[in-house]
């Protein structure tokens, strides 16, 4: 647990911190880009489809976001992803956010990836942002996305993070919700390319 101390004389630094967060979105490596059309997909690229859910779901008052642009963090989980597996042992740094997946809770994401396997290292969501406090919730990772060469689209499943009232993750489950995801995939992209089911697997 790393609580935070704020002094009023350091409130200016907190403001600087907010600017820093704004700047961070410009500084960190890009997120995996959402895909709206398969026509722009390169030969060595794959659409990764999946979903993140919280059980029980996030209540409206549980995420307190204030200030400019803070709405863009609403219901959003940042999934830290890398082609090289590693265990995050402390708060992720800016570099860890490069290649992230930005997933809106309870909605399928469709993101562009290289046609190579990669790993979900963990997740992060802002609980308090833009006020005097900044609080984040972290979610466990250790999951492999198994993309094969030639895959145009893969479905990785729904990651359900079960949590208690203290935001401790009590269980993480991979749920196969392929039919619903495939229906949305076909509606979005047509039936030219199949959505191959390749559910996330725990890294051994």
């Amino acid at each position: 647990m790393i609580p935070r101390r704020l002094t009023f004389t350091r409130a200016r630094l907190a403001f600087t911190g907010l600017l820093f967060i704004g700047a961070r979105s410009a500084c960190v490596g890009a997120a995996r880009e959402p895909v709206d059309s398969l026509s722009g997909l390169g030969g060595d690229e794959t659409v990764v489809v999946g979903r993140i859910e919280l059980v029980p779901p996030l209540r409206k008052d549980e995420q307190k976001l204030k200030g400019l642009n803070s709405g863009s963090f609403e219901n959003k989980v940042f999934l830290l992803a890398d082609e090289h597996y590693r265990v995050l042992t402390e708060e992720p740094g800016m570099a860890d956010y490069a290649g992230r997946i930005e997933a809106i809770l309870g909605k399928n994401f469709f993101v562009r990836s290289h046609s190579k396997p990669f790993f979900i290292l963990g997740g992060m969501m802002y609980l308090d942002l833009g006020g005097r406090e900044m609080n984040r919730a972290y979610f466990p990772g250790g999951l492999k996305v198994s993309i094969k060469p030639g895959d145009k689209a893969v479905y990785v499943g729904t990651v359900q993070y079960h949590r208690n009232e203290f935001f401790e993750v009590t269980k993480a489950a991979i749920v196969d919700d392929y039919d619903r995801a495939n229906a949305e995939f076909k509606k979005k992209f047509g039936a030219k390319y199949p959505l191959r089911k390749a559910l996330l697997t725990p890294v051994k």
Partner: protein, 184 residues
């Protein structure tokens, strides 16, 4: 001028905190559903002592989730918490040279998390403030480490000695019974 602005902001914040204090505890001290929650923080290594403390109710959901705690030389307590889930939210303190400080606890991974399913006496523990490393542009960070002293019994005795409201309420006998239980 700059200093005045921060002073005004500080006063506004204190006003808001006072508002929070009155928003939580509109309960009779002898309400049989009350719980007494208490703990201790050693702030010797902190920039200031603690002069205000707050718990946040995380379940059931509430429009007024913040509960003010009584504070006395590191001891903090509240004697009218209804059943629910709580954790320490923040401490406040000020010093002549250090200025106004606020010590916020995380919402996830908070080691003071407490579930009250039935009314009773709950000891959160005794802790010591430790400074933690923070980045150049980050707010100051700290951690709290559990310590063995003061004990639950020592703190309960202090509550009886220092709060006549509690001593003269239904809590007086309950605390004495708990002290006897701890002694045996």
């Amino acid at each position: 001028m700059k200093h005045r602005i921060w002073l005004v902001l500080g006063l506004i914040t204190l006003g808001l905190l006072a508002g929070c204090a009155s928003s939580g505890p509109e309960r009779d001290i002898n309400d049989p559903t009350n719980s007494l929650v208490f703990g201790y923080i050693d702030m010797d290594d902190a920039p200031t002592k603690v002069s205000s403390a707050w718990m946040v109710q995380v379940a059931p959901p509430s429009d007024t989730p913040y509960w003010g705690l009584g504070v006395s030389k590191g001891l903090f307590y509240n004697s009218y918490l209804p059943p629910g889930s709580y954790q320490l939210s923040k401490f406040g303190g000020s010093g002549f040279f250090a200025g106004q400080h606020e010590y916020s606890f995380p919402r996830q991974g908070n080691q003071t998390a407490l579930r009250i399913s039935k009314p009773g006496i709950y000891f959160l523990g005794s802790y010591k403030y430790k400074k933690a490393k923070s980045g150049m542009f980050e707010q100051g960070k700290f951690k709290i480490e559990k310590i063995n002293k003061p004990t639950e019994a020592e703190l309960l005795k202090r509550i009886l000695d220092e709060s006549s409201d509690i001593k003269d309420s239904a809590w007086g006998n309950k605390i004495r019974a708990r002290l006897a239980q701890l002694k045996s």
